[in-house]
C-alpha cells in the first residue's frame, strides 16, 4: 500500500498533515507528538512584517466548534527564516509554509525571501483568512484576483504551490478553478467560516473584531461538501480539512475526493489525532484492498 501523495512533482510521505495556525512551527508540540508520523506541517501564516495579532480575547468556544481571531500573529518572514526555520528544517516531516499578505506584492516578497531558505517543501497561499481587514479573504472570494496572484507566485518558484480556499463564497469551485488556471499544484479546502458570538451578559461581541473564523467538528459537513464539489471541478489534488477529529472524518474527505487531509482544531483536543487518523486510514485501505489514496476516489462518482 502506498500512502504517499504526489503534489506538483514532489511527494508527501503520507496524507495527514497538521493545519496552519494550529501547530505553530512544530516545536510547541514536540513533547506530545511523534513528528515522523506527520505527513506535513503547515506553518502558522508568515507575513512580510511581524504582526502582533488581533486584540484579546481571541478564542471562543461554540457548539462543537471554536472561533478564533488570532489575526495572523507572527514574527514576520525574516525572523521566521532566522529563528523558526532552523528548527523546522530538522523535523522529519515536510514543511509547508503558509503565506499571507495584504497585497499581491507582499505575497510575492514573502515567497521570494522564503525561496532563499533551504528546507521548505512548498507553500500554502492563504487567501482565506477571515481575521484581517486587508488581504486574506478579500482576495480569496474573487476568482480573478486568485488567478492573478497564483500566476504571479507561480513564476517565482518551482516548489509546490497550494492555494487555500475560503468556504465563505457562493461557489467555491470558481475559486478553485481560478487557482488551477493560475498554476497552483493543489488547493486546500477549507479555511474557517465567518462566525460571531455575542456575550449576552456584557452585551457586546466576545471578540473585539466582532467576527472570527469558525473551525472544528461543527464545520466538517461544510468542508466535506466543498471538497466533493471542488475535486470534481479541478484536476489538481485537493487537500481536505475542516473538523477532522478521527479516522472516519478523514476518510469522509478522502472518499469525497481529497488526496490528503489536514488536522486543525482537533490537535487542541487531542494532539495524537494525526497519528490516530493515519493509522485508521492505513487500516481502512488494507481492509478494503485499496492500494493508494487515489484508489479511494473511485467509490463515489
Amino acid at each position: 500500500m502506498d500512502l504517499s501523495v504526489a503534489i506538483g512533482g514532489k511527494k508527501l510521505p503520507n496524507p495527514v498533515g497538521v493545519a496552519s495556525g494550529t501547530f505553530g512551527y512544530g516545536g510547541e508540540y514536540e513533547q506530545l507528538v511523534d513528528f515522523a508520523a506527520i505527513g506535513a506541517l503547515y506553518t502558522k501564516a508568515v507575513t512580510l512584517m511581524p504582526r502582533p495579532g488581533n486584540d484579546i480575547p481571541r478564542i471562543v468556544e461554540t457548539p462543537s466548534g471554536l472561533i478564533n481571531s488570532i489575526g495572523l500573529a507572527n514574527v514576520g518572514v525574516d525572523r521566521f527564516i532566522s529563528e523558526k526555520m532552523p528548527h523546522c528544517r530538522e523535523l522529519p516531516c515536510a514543511v509547508v509554509v503558509n503565506i499571507a499578505g495584504s497585497s499581491a506584492d507582499e505575497y510575492a516578497r514573502v515567497l521570494e525571501k522564503l525561496e532563499t531558505c533551504p528546507g521548505i517543501w512548498g507553500y500554502e497561499i492563504n487567501v482565506s483568512c477571515p481575521n484581517v481587514k486587508h488581504g486574506g479573504m478579500a482576495f480569496g472570494t474573487d476568482p480573478a484576483q486568485v488567478e492573478r496572484l497564483t500566476a504571479d507566485l507561480r513564476k517565482r518558484t518551482k516548489n509546490p504551490i497550494i492555494v487555500k480556499l475560503t468556504p465563505n463564497v457562493t461557489d467555491i469551485r470558481t475559486i478553485a478553478k481560478a487557482a488551477q488556471e493560475g498554476g497552483a499544484d493543489a488547493v486546500s479546502c477549507i479555511n474557517t467560516l465567518v462566525g460571531m458570538v455575542i456575550d449576552v451578559g456584557a452585551k457586546k461581541p466576545v471578540l473585539p473584531m466582532g467576527t472570527g473564523g469558525l473551525s472544528g467538528p461543527a464545520i466538517r459537513p461544510v468542508g466535506v461538501a466543498a471538497t466533493y464539489a471542488v475535486s470534481r471541478a479541478v484536476s489538481i489534488p485537493v487537500i481536505g480539512l475542516g473538523g477532522i477529529s478521527g479516522p472516519l472524518d478523514a476518510l469522509q474527505y478522502l472518499l469525497a475526493g481529497a488526496s490528503a487531509v489536514q488536522i486543525g482544531t482537533a490537535n487542541f483536543v487531542d494532539p495524537t489525532t494525526t497519528a490516530r487518523v493515519l493509522a485508521g486510514i492505513r487500516e481502512f485501505c488494507e481492509r478494503e484492498n485499496v492500494s493508494c489514496i487515489k484508489d479511494l476516489h473511485r467509490f463515489i462518482p
Binding site: G21, E28, G53, I56, R58, S64, F268, T272
Partner: protein, 262 residues
Amino acid sequence: MKQFIAKILSHASVSDCFFELAFAWDAAAGPVLPGQFCTIRVSPYSAPLLRRPFAFSRYDEKTGVAAIAYKKRGPATELLSCKPAGGTINIIGPLGNDFFRFATAGYAHFYLVAGGTGFGPVAFLANHCAQRNLACTVVLGCRTRSQLPRLNLLPSVKAVVCTDDGSEGIHGTPLTYLATLSPMQYASSAVFSCGPAPLLAGCHEWALARGLSCFVSVEQVMACGVGACMGCAVRVTDAGANGFARACTEGPVFDSRRILWT
C-alpha cells in the same frame, strides 16, 4: 509534559462550590511546581469541545498524587464533577511556568493571595513554601463561610480568611486585609496572587504603591495550552513581545508590572 490517562484517586466536594480531584501522576510527565497547570479533556464528544486548564492544588512526588481544585462554572466543570473516583481523566501537563521561580530573590516573607478558583494553586504554593521554611501568609477571600474550601494547609502556614459577608474572618476582601498592613509587616515581602482579575489588579496596585514585587497568575481562554495557537494572549507592556504574551507558556504567572492593566 505528557498526555496521559490518569486514574482518579479521589474526588470530593471541599466547600459548597468547590471540588478537589486527585489523580495518579505519570512520573514520565516530570515533576509539578505550584502555579503550573494541566489541561483536561472532559468529554469524548464534540460539545464541550476544548480541553480545560486547571492549576494544580497539590502534588506529591513521592506518592505520585496530583490534584486540582475547581468550581462548577459551565458545561466542562459540570461534566468533570460527575467523574467518579476509580475512573480516568485525559491529562496534558505539567504546563506553563510556576510561581516559585519568582521566589528565588531574597524576600523575607510572602503574601499569597487567593480568591475564587485561585485557592488551589495558592494552597499548593503555601505548602511548598512551608516545606522549604519560607515565611508566608495565605490570604483567602470568598463570598461567604460555606464557600471556603477545606484544602489541607500545613500547620506552619499562617492563613487569613476574608469573607464578603463577614461570616468568617475579616469582613471584606483580601485587599481589605492588605490595606491594614503596616510597613513593618510588609517590608521585604513579595505578593503572589491568583484569582479574579480585579483581585489581581488590586494586589498589583497595592504592591506597586509600596515598592514591592507582585506576581500574578492570569486566566485566559486557551485552545492548545502549549504555545502553538496564540489564542491565550494577554496584553503586556514590553514591545519586544509585540504587546502580547501567551498565558499558557510565557505565563500563567507574570510579574505584575509586565501586565498591561486596563
